[in-house]
Amino acid sequence: MIIELMTSGFFLKAFVGGVLIAVVAPLMGTFLVLRRLSMIGDTLAHVTIAGVALGFLLQVYPLVVGLIFALLASFAIERLRKAYKTYAELSIAIIMSGGVALASLFFTLGKNFNLNVTSYLFGSIYTLTDLDIYVVAGVAVLVLIVVAVFWKELFLLTFDEDAAAVSGLPVRALNIMVTVLTALIISVSIKIVGALLISALLTIPVACSLLIARGFRQSIIFSVIIAEIAAIAGLLVAGVWSLAPGATIVLILILILIVTMIVRRGLKI
């Protein structure tokens, strides 16, 4: 059964796409979660859908418009965060509802285009095109290179932003870099896991690894391994039993989290 799945073109593409996203989403997710920006993934995903819908309306490659929307939204969030310093999460709430409103507006406008809303909300990993795979692979390689090159700086920025500023690191530029990479990852993940679930891939592997990792490097490695296990297992389970792949991956992630918590507790007592 599994061999049958693996030899089918659409499944293979889904597999490659899933594996790639499961490397970069938790990697970037670690930086976001540790800086208390967990909800930013969800927000950007909702805005990205609006962009994707507009892309369909304008008949250009939807992910590109989605990406532009995500980038604009991330800068808007930063702006609002500064305006409402003590209520930083307000900015996330505002941008998220703005994204959903725009998305539903565009979807209604595009009724004639026969837009498939659910495929972007819940992902449609089996309909990935070759172009989609190249785009995902390109983003994955870019993220890996940037994180490898700026590893030290990203650590200090995440651990102690003040110290990073005092030691002369270009904090603003680094923050923008993290934002741009996050927007990139989210916009290419939308077709794979869906806008409603991408946040899970950014955060749940990190939630698991935070329970067991001792160091920063270790925590990133663990979160990627956990995401890979969930992605591969999820795709296979979903393929064999014809379940929704994105949802299966997320539920497996939650299962891993629960098991990790129980095992950790068991070891402590």
Partner: protein, 265 residues
């Protein structure tokens, strides 16, 4: 009102100089027309109630905040042009970091060498050596691969002190280093800091809540008061050898200071 410069230029160069510095926070004046100078090898203690502007002042001195008016000089250079941040070691408030953060002691100490000079470059062997030395000096080598949040308050403080000392700084800034640490460990920490002041060519600026410690080492009377801020100083001429050694000499601290905090994990 600045401190008179002494004849011994080598020992008494201004490390920090504040002139007419003011800072407002939401229309409320926090610091008003502050003039103050810290000279080489001085130990300056800064005391003030909550909201007195202690942290604001610290953050201005390390360049995180800009004064509303007035000028700040570091090592004789205006802060806007100052580039030698590796000459300054900074120990943040203990509660400024998330105890659940997954970072090992080694990762935290090593981050002390990350700066402008090595952005996007791989860490050098000599930096790794510096990290090992700093951990050795602070007697945290055994804890190197532990998660920082698992350590006791006193041990965490030594990790941050090791990070601040890694570049062998000329100025060490400590922002309420002992908040949330038990009395005995606080005492040990102060002893360690005093020992460093006595034996090393380092200038200290410390914000503290602990009146007793400040008075015991720096005397009963503040040399200056500005608003609710009180400055206590022990000048370099009040301590012996003006020419002191650098960080490696701190190894002798081991003999003189016992870290009782170790046992209370």
């Amino acid at each position: 009102m600045t401190i008179e410069s002494s004849t011994n230029a080598r020992c008494h160069q201004d490390v920090i100089r504040l002139e007419h510095v003011s800072f407002d926070y939401q229309d409320q004046s926090v610091i008003r027309d502050l003039n103050f100078a810290v000279q080489q090898r001085d130990f300056v203690g800064l005391i003030g109630s909550n909201g007195a502007g202690k942290s604001t002042l610290m953050r201005m001195i390390v360049g995180l905040l800009k004064p509303k008016s007035g000028s700040i000089e570091l090592f004789g250079e205006p802060i806007e042009q100052f580039n030698g941040w590796q000459r300054i070691g900074y120990v943040p408030q203990k509660n400024s970091f998330n105890p659940l953060f997954p970072a090992t002691v080694r990762e935290v100490v090593q981050s002390g060498v990350y700066g402008k000079r090595n952005v996007a470059r791989r860490i050098q062997k000599e930096d790794i050596q510096k990290c090992s030395d700093a951990m050795d000096v602070m007697r945290i080598t055994d804890l190197a691969s532990k998660r920082i949040g698992q350590l006791s308050g006193g041990q965490q403080q030594r990790v941050f002190l090791a990070r601040a000392l890694i570049n062998n700084p000329e100025l060490l800034i400590l922002d309420e280093p002992t908040v949330g640490i038990d009395i005995e460990t606080q005492h040990d920490f102060f002893q360690l800091v005093q020992h460093m002041h006595q034996h090393h060519r380092m200038t200290f600026l410390m914000v503290s809540h602990d009146m007793d410690m400040i008075e015991a080492y720096l005397g009963q009377e503040p040399v200056q008061q500005s608003g609710k801020l009180k400055f206590y100083v022990k000048h370099s001429h009040e301590i012996e050898n003006c020419e002191a050694s650098n960080l490696s000499h701190t190894l002798t601290v081991r003999e003189t200071v016992s870290f009782k905090g170790d046992e209370r994990n």
